[in-house]
């Protein structure tokens, strides 16, 4: 939990923090790999939503260098399996996600990130 699919969808949402607020940077992470069922149709549907550079960056940050810099044009099974692994099988269980802009720390505990904002951050 906190898989990279989720990381790819979460931006800092502190009031006024609207640029350079994605992707959040990982810090002090504990990573666990868990095999999960391969669902190529789900992946194909999700690919248009991916911020590719952010995904590649996050994967490399966590030590996985299997993704190419650019998404390939052909979505063959080999590629989808690599993507499946990166998006859904790498779990960040503990650690912090930091906003590159406002430096807000979002703590991850037991696999669940706390994305709640403090009172002065909601305005």
């Amino acid at each position: 939990m906190v898989r990279l699919i989720t990381h790819n969808l979460l931006a800092c949402h502190v009031k006024g923090c609207t640029s350079n607020n994605f992707p959040l940077e990982f810090k002090d992470v504990q990573v666990v790999l868990r095999e999960s069922e391969f669902n190529p149709d789900f992946l194909r549907g999700f690919i248009p939503k991916i911020e590719w550079t952010a995904l590649v960056g996050a994967a490399r940050e966590l030590g996985d260098t299997s993704l190419p810099d650019q998404p390939p044009e052909m979505l063959d099974d080999d590629f989808l399996k690599t993507l499946h692994h990166v998006l859904l099988e790498i779990h960040v269980e503990e650690g912090i996600m930091i906003c590159p802009n406002c430096k807000h720390n979002y703590a991850i505990s037991n696999g669940i990130p706390n994305m709640l904002l403090a009172e002065h951050e909601i305005g």
Binding site: T6, L10, C12, N105, N110, L116, L117, E119, H120
Partner: protein
Amino acid sequence: MPAFLFVFAQSHSEFRLPELASVAALHGFTITVPPDCDTSRPFTVLNLESEEHARLLASRCILIKHVCEFYAQGGNYDELHAANKTSSHLWSSYVPDTSFKFVVTAYNHKISESRQRNIVESFSYMGFMGKIDMKNPQVLMGCFEEYETALGLREDRDGKFRQVYFGRLVVDGSARALIKMFDVKKRLYYGNTSMESEVSLLMANQALASPSRFVYDPFCGTGSMAYPIAYFGAQVFGSDIDGRQMRGKDGKDQPPGVLRAAKQYGVADRIVDLCTFDVTRNPWRCGNLFDAIVTDPPYGVRAGAKRLGRKKELSDEKKAANIEHQLSARKAQQPYVPPTKPYELSRLAADLVVLARYLLKPDGRLVFFLPTVNEQYEEVDIQSMLCDGMVLVANSLQDFGSWGRRLVTIRKTTHESYPPPTFEEEHDAVGHIPAHKDFREQYFRGFKKESDVQ
């Protein structure tokens, strides 16, 4: 198109046809319901393209008990038999040497064994020559008597005979077994607001849950919606303003409660992630993400809805002290719990529709429960919370007497992208005031008018 007799479970009558329509949509076909169809009755005759469609429906609809090939119906047995004789082309192929069995049952009534025998014998003109096989018959003929609900009668009396139906069993509803499988009492993790399994399964069907779909529950709580949806193959994302609901009390020695229950059902893998945040202050990077949003918002009887903020503004002095406290808590990485304020139900419902329009893909569905005061409910209550590009698909009441909750299904029809909703607090309703406004207060007042209470 051949006609089929649907025998439904007794409960949740308003959910029957919406569920059929949803499961049909899931499999890419439609069902035409005659305008005079009385949905309150547990027997309905509908035309389907094929037996295959009947099987698809029966394997997924929670409320289907049986589907039969329809032969006849009547207000008495003479009418039934006359009609059955004109349908002989449907059953004549079973006459020569097909093993068979007759079953006679009734709704709202118990038929004595001797009368059951008489009824079976009254069909002897069909002239079935195959052997009677009570265990594994090749065809099963079903005769169903319907009695009126015995309202106002003594409990041991039955209502008036209403109609009798006859047909050949095509398939038993197999999805009803899931109600037991997802029984909340046998779940490893649940809370006092967990949704009963039958209704959560109905919601999963309204949401068209199936493999390759991405479904979101923004008031995830103890995860009741997530399990059946994931069971049907979808990937589920849950969030809640109160992380403790998703985590449970066992600390870090164990996986969060929602994941433990998901594992029990073999679907932990399909719970994509759980996140703590207030949906009105959400971190979604973009919209157009989900195929369905399915949720049971807290409406305040056992747990009221909350959002970030304070009921009353603080003085400047207190505000400054507070910020300092928040910052120091953050630095020490201690869990900091921000203040919350109540989230009024009619506002929450209207916000949810706008949020869904942003987060859903075109054709995606929003499925949620809305409690309402039965006496004051008007159809406009639901219509008035829709917005451009969102249309009502179904609205089914689960009746608890003076109040009830409506399962509302809304479809996103627009392909336009909309900006994320602002959840501003000013847009308060000047116009129509729906019956679900301030539901919690009304509930605790016993649904009396405010002026009557003093």
